[in-house]
Amino acid sequence: MMNRCLHLPRLLSRSSTRTIRYSNNYTNNYTKQYTKPHSKAYTNGTEGEWSPSKVNRLVASFKKIAASSGEPSISAAVLSPDLTSSSSPSELDKYTKCWRGKWGVNGIKGKGNIVLRPSTTEAVRRIVKFCNEENIKIVPQGGNTGLVGAGVPEGYDEVVLSTTRLNSEISLDESTSVITLSSGVILSDAITKCSELGYIYPVDIGSKGTCNVGGNISSNAGGIYYNRFGSIKENLVGLEVVTGKGDVLNMGGCEMRKNSAGMDLKQVFVGGEGAFGIVTKVMMRVWRKPKTREVAVLEAKGWSEVQSICERVEERMGGLVSALEVMDRGVLELVEEKIGAAGLGWVGGTGYYVLVETMGFDEERDRETVERFLEGIIEEGIVEDGVLAKGEEEVEAIWGVRESCGVAVNRAGGSWKYDVSLKLRDWEEVGKMVEDRVRGMGGKLVIWGHLGDRNVHLNVVREEKDGGEGNDITQTLEPWIYEEIVKRGGSVSAEHGIGQCKGDLMEGLIVGETGMEYLRGIKQIFDPNEILNGGRKKTFR
């Protein structure tokens, strides 16, 4: 019985840690092509492969740091290529490569020669101090599941600092409803811990089986519960950070959720992508776990029906709604083709599918509210068909499909992702404009995302990747699409961040010239030697 439901989220986490073997030979040809001009401050950012002797010397130093900060396992704390043998680089690949195969100098993989996995804040501090003295760039990284390459090394001369072994603390204080986590705790472990004690962690995203809670802070992740429980900024109670200077900054003295004592310094690190500091500890507000859960999927013929459903859900069920998601027929076809049909028993018509999830505390009353809502929209003629999950098994199957949309699209061959937020009325129009532009090139638009918080994943897919003159979808859509979205008051990156993907939009479209001046000023304060995330040149150019 238990095997009937395919656990798609597990497939998802497996794929985000997959390893692809590569040869080291063809990298130099690509380096020039993909390296854009950058400022003086970063001339060491991507050029100049370290000599084997330098790598050896650094590895020895890092091992010494690990030993002196009491690391229980030096070999786990310092990963480096064995320069004398032809051993496989696959262990390093997990940390140096982009799982999407998109970011990194040659577009296939990152380049860090050395990966550091400290298990204590003290070790992180010592590493950062050392790197300041030696002018070594650090790429802070969580579970390496990001979509924009913020944690993927760009140059040979960067070390990756992975938080994956910083996972000793995971404790929930029920008197304050606050959970304290070492930054390398895997998100699903935090979710499970909360669940065991009757709480819910406010962040839940598709990559939860691999991503780290600290990485969630640095990338300002969104996810399916944003709608109900709010953003990371709203739920963040405290942070411990090692700044680019190597200071341990503890911003978790106040354990209370309500706190207006002065400027909220920790918020600078939310979405900071490791440019100001490395998050080592996280304190988050957790919520009482609701007792009931209902999941319905509604078929919407067209976009205007999707809009109506969204409005009715908000108007009639309000705070009972925990997630409100949308998927179009195209993305579901991809899920069926690339992942498998399990759990897709509810797909019938064309158009869009809206997933509505409620969570409450009274089974009878909640069920009644949901049924009355469903009855209402059927009577109004907004919806003709759909399903209501009979039990948790169907709930899991439906969510499995929703969470595998991203992976299915990645397996389509070429995919162009635009993680944007837009007013409801603009989605269809922008989608049509995108379709018109890519149709001649064999591109197909697929849409899915968080209807409740107006965050849509607007993706173009086709079998081949970008290729040559007149056949380059990136060039066809960018920067037009970003300008179009900003013009409509939307966000060009609603939950994935900037990374190596959108740095060149910062000044022109996101914060403006003056804004960048201030951001550079903040960078100077926390990381005067520009050690952290040196590869992210575009952001601070």
Partner: protein
């Protein structure tokens, strides 16, 4: 042909159950309840028979508390025509034994005289798996348990065994069938059908109304959790693993 199916309300299969404070039962307070998965398969099979015009009516029967009406409503939303709710406050996961349930179902069957009775092979709470066989014995009709495929035209059933499946011929109807996992994959309840189900009829009766004398159930002495698994250890490298396998586990 008229088909009767049994549906039982049980703790949702995905819920991690907890032992109640008195250690005499599983804690049911604030726990998500759903239709027993094998009963879902039984309902699906009956509804498919109706869709294939082989069955004229599908009657869903549930024995349990007030909330079992919801479970019946789900069966109606899947396509059953009407429901019969035998209401009782006796806990159906452990106090009301298989024989008592079989007696109740036999009485309902004697009133409804269905041609085929399809039950789940077992419920995931008590896990006894006896009700179907007991019901067939009480009614003195053939029983086809652990069904993976039922062919009413040929009067054959492919049934699951420990080593694969076997095909058996049954002498004819009426007969009792119990559904195994591979019989079918139950459908989702669609919104139009959920709405239609609200208008379908559910008759509610008590065990006294039926005039059934219950058999003595099992006495629960203690309910306890299985011993927790010991935590694993992480080895540093391959040599460490080989060492442990060789010297501690003695498997290589």
């Amino acid at each position: 042909m008229r088909v009767m199916v049994g549906v039982k309300r049980v703790v949702d299969y995905a819920v991690k159950v907890r032992v109640a404070a008195d250690k005499k039962a599983v804690d049911l307070a604030n726990v998500k309840m759903s239709m027993n998965p094998f009963c879902e398969i039984a309902v699906e099979e009956a509804v498919r028979l109706k869709e294939a015009k082989k069955a004229t009516e599908v009657i869903a029967v549930s024995v349990g508390p007030k909330a079992s009406a919801e479970t019946l409503r789900t069966a109606l939303a899947m396509g059953a025509d009407r429901g019969i709710h035998i209401m009782t406050d006796i806990r159906t996961d452990q106090e009301l034994g298989s024989l008592s349930v079989a007696k109740i179902l036999a009485k309902v069957a004697s009133e409804e005289s269905p041609d085929a009775i399809i039950l789940g092979k077992q419920s995931i709470d008590g896990d006894f798996g006896c009700t179907g066989s007991m019901l067939a014995s009480l009614m003195d009709v053939p029983q086809c348990t652990f069904a993976a495929k039922i062919d009413f035209d040929a009067s054959t059933v492919e049934r699951e065994t420990d080593t694969g499946t076997e095909i058996v011929k049954f002498p004819g109807l009426p007969a009792v069938f119990t559904a195994d996992l591979r019989l079918n994959e139950p459908r989702y309840a669609t919104l139009p059908n959920i709405m239609k189900a609200k208008k379908k009829k559910i008759d509610t009766k008590s065990i006294e109304d039926l005039g059934v004398e219950l058999s003595e159930g099992n006495e629960v002495l203690e309910v306890f959790e299985p011993p927790p698994r010991e935590a694993g250890i992480l080895v540093d490298d391959v040599d460490g693993l080989v060492d442990k396998l060789k010297n501690e586990a003695s498997v290589i």
